[in-house]
Symmetry: C2
Subunit: 390 residues, 2 copies
Amino acid sequence: MKKHLLLSLIALITLSALSFSQQALFGGANIISPEVNPDNSVTFRFQAPDAKEVKLTGDWMPAQGWTPGSELMTKDDKGLWSFTTAPLASDLYSYSFTVDGLRNTDPNNVYMIRDVATVTNVFIVGGGKGDLYQVNDVPHGTVARRWYDSPSLGMKRRITIYTPAGYESSKQKYPVLYLLHGMGGDEEAWINLGRTSQILDNLIAQGKAKPMIVVMPNGNVVQEAAPGESTLGFQKPTMQLPNTMDGKYEETFKDIISFVESNYNVITEKPGRAIAGLSMGGYHSLHISRFYPNMFDYVGLFSAAIMSDPKVTSKVYDNIDATLQQQLKNGFKLYWIGIGKTDFLYKNNVEFRSKLDAMKFPYVYRESEGGHTWTNWRTYLSELAPQLFR
Amino acid sequence: MKKHLLLSLIALITLSALSFSQQALFGGANIISPEVNPDNSVTFRFQAPDAKEVKLTGDWMPAQGWTPGSELMTKDDKGLWSFTTAPLASDLYSYSFTVDGLRNTDPNNVYMIRDVATVTNVFIVGGGKGDLYQVNDVPHGTVARRWYDSPSLGMKRRITIYTPAGYESSKQKYPVLYLLHGMGGDEEAWINLGRTSQILDNLIAQGKAKPMIVVMPNGNVVQEAAPGESTLGFQKPTMQLPNTMDGKYEETFKDIISFVESNYNVITEKPGRAIAGLSMGGYHSLHISRFYPNMFDYVGLFSAAIMSDPKVTSKVYDNIDATLQQQLKNGFKLYWIGIGKTDFLYKNNVEFRSKLDAMKFPYVYRESEGGHTWTNWRTYLSELAPQLFR
């Protein structure tokens, strides 16, 4: 017995070493990429001795329309391609490599996020806004993926719920932010791409936001759950789902509120409810908040789509002006509109604000640089959350 | 106002179309890969007109030691490489492409899992064992990522907890399975690589397993949380963490039990506690269950490492035989040992079983095909779970 005492330990260490040499096979052993340098420039590295051209595409580079910018990388005599950026502002960024015309993720960076059907590497430059998106040494909330019953849609549906640190042991009733994704998104979008739990953990720890529950539902009424999380299996995600903006989600949103208010220790009056969303989720927030015109004291529209397709018939869109008037009459604390200067929905938002101005409907307007991007939506959440439930 | 009513809708559809053409740029538009064919053969496709050689590596192929097998793919006149396997047994599989010597994930498959520092695409072949790993039309449990206090380690630590469907509204007390990962793993390993929530949802719905809570802690005592989920930021994951098998985890495991039993509605006696783990997690399960010799009625060792390094001094390893004797004397319901015929820890397990036999320590032994793989560990969990809490 004794002679093999050490065998398992040696074997485990060997396993470890072999696993490393397997990484070496893929050019991954000792390469650090990306590396954020002391001056906040960032160095990317990619081992590909036989490649003729390697390009780096990053969301901080100037884009042409929807075509992202890119930079040529340089090869050294060992076949290692590299590129170092100018110093970057503190933020969360995404990037990919293009190797002889083929997109590749960075084999030395396991941190990736999925946006619709595209998986992209990410990194954070700290020292400013990016610190809000990092896990810091602060109390952490809980993130739960649950299933709730939606009788109005006749299905069980998956939902992501952030409860702040201390929630489980507290007797206090918490306010709730309903946070809605855009077209092509699902109940994973805000928690992954949006860094919701990090932003809330950090803002709450700094005393800048009130402890709140954040509810991230799936806004595609034909889906039970995000791609890969339903009985459809590992289907390829698509943007073009039916019934996303035809009134069904707005009309059945009561199922989500009912689930949250009967399953969580929350404030069940208007001062304890906020709703915000990006793009299609901004559209949903606009229409849900006036369809239930006495439900929410806080509304946030991030790069929002605005008006419904006139061909769509739904009681939700029957009386847009009248329900906005009713919402105004009922009163609310904050109606917040944020959009980037180059957003393709900019003009729609100008028109919507004119409509609100004509109605003397009060709102706070935030115009940022940039366009229809997660960079802006993370910023808007970071700016809106501190204004809620005051 | 009216003339731009449709603008936002059109713009959103345009955005969708542009996003698709962006995918087309990366060769991803209309390609389905992998495609499971009616006979359970699987076709892989990869668009790379300029590549000279594309290989497919899959975990169902015969491997040489730790070197996975691979197959050459064939290019058609449009630059689409493809390969179709023989019919595969129902299971969950992982694969990658190697393009002119460079590893690439499949750009048409967003479903990936991380194992230590390697990200790999996955797919499921249904019709048998693989059905257990799929999301089926059954009641679904909740998966929560929480943080608990570990006073013995002086830190807050992240933990993954599965609660079965109905837990939140039930008054009954649930049994708990503590499920431990291997070297290089963390609190994300069993829920992602192990498909724990799908396996439990399905077995419970079929009446094959009792509803139970599954607690998946982080077994690396130097880590607060999985890579990317702690203050260390987006660090490159490594296998070689200190203090993983020096007794600290076993000794401080009481913090985890204490957290679970004071925060969940659970049975707090031995008949309601099980512990199981893979590789290093099997080692931890062995040593935790005899270090707390009256705590668990069910123990599962999956491809377990067995004996401690004699150079390690810890009170945990001081009296291995005596504590096993004590565990035997105290009694338990099931001690389950599973290992694959080609596992590098096979011999250690033979010796451990001889030791148990000499002590007349009862156990159930399950020998499978294959080696030290997640394929086996998912199988072992699927087989052990139905035997718990009977």
